[in-house]
Amino acid sequence: MVGIPPRKWAQGKPFSGFRSGLLLGLGAALILHQIGWWILDINTLVLLPILSGLLFAGRAWLGTPYR
């Protein structure tokens, strides 16, 4: 009997994901400041990019699913 093959995740590049997430977070912080969503402070200019970097590092670590 041929069953469904197991899912395998091919890991991406977490450090590259972190750098890209950092850049994305900084860009989002500036754009959202310019449209009046928030002010520029330690949360938006430091905390958000770092958390965004960690988030995308996590996504890259998760990688791509294959079956």
């Binding site: 590049k13 994305l24 310019q34 002010i39």
Partner: protein, 212 residues
């Protein structure tokens, strides 16, 4: 599945650090105004609108318990990743205050909403207050352009980082070669974007004083 679970727990932890935003107020028993408006009305959603080159005048009265004629010292800051002191003005009598101009660097490169803080202290009393000001600058600014370039570059880089490292080829399928499972990948991508949007929402409502 285990990796998805780890990512979900990570997202939940990010949200768990959120604390409610603190209200604007003047502390220390003083009354204070910015350009004639009381501070409690000038929150982030209803900032004081100023044009480039306009000044911000913070004035207030000393607490009723302070002795008349006493000396005071007013300091005014703008908050951008920490407090940048703009002015320090001494005063005497029952009123304190100071007038500042927002730095050219901010008004030219990144106009928008900023938090202006003030402290006034005298013999036996200390008052603090803050208000939001919006520097008018239009939607197309240097900061918008820099932000857009950074966001697009970051997005492209993040998408590229998800792709497998070279040499990772799976041969688990019945046909001898694995294929990307698009629906699962889309679910993972959507979860990450959802967490990012939640982060933006939560961080937009955080008071920076919980960090510094």
């Amino acid at each position: 599945m285990r990796r998805l679970l780890v990512l979900t727990i990570f997202g939940a932890l990010l949200l768990a650090i959120a604390v409610p935003a603190m209200a604007q107020e003047v502390t220390g028993g003083c009354n204070a105004t910015v350009n004639g408006q009381t501070l409690d009305t000038l929150d982030a959603k209803h900032p004081l609108i100023i044009e480039k080159g306009d000044t911000v005048a913070l004035t207030g009265s000393v607490p009723a318990t302070a002795s008349g004629g006493s000396e005071s010292l007013t300091k005014i800051y703008v908050e951008v990743v920490g407090d940048i002191q703009l002015a320090e003005e001494p005063g005497t009598g029952e009123f304190w205050g100071g007038t500042v101009e927002i730095p050219e660097l901010l008004t030219s490169l990144a106009p928008g909403v900023y938090k202006v803080k003030g402290t006034a202290e005298g013999s036996g009393w200390l008052c603090t207050g803050s208000a939001y000001v919006k520097i008018e600058g239009g939607p197309w600014t240097a900061a918008t352009a820099i932000g857009a370039v950074a966001a697009v570059a970051g997005g492209i880089g993040a998408a590229a980082a998800i792709k497998p490292k070279k040499g990772q080829i799976f041969h688990e399928g019945p046909s001898g070669g694995g294929a990307p499972e698009t629906p699962t990948k889309l679910v993972a991508d959507a979860a990450v974007l959802l967490i990012l949007l939640l982060l933006i929402y939560v961080i937009g409502n955080l008071d920076p004083s919980w960090v510094v």
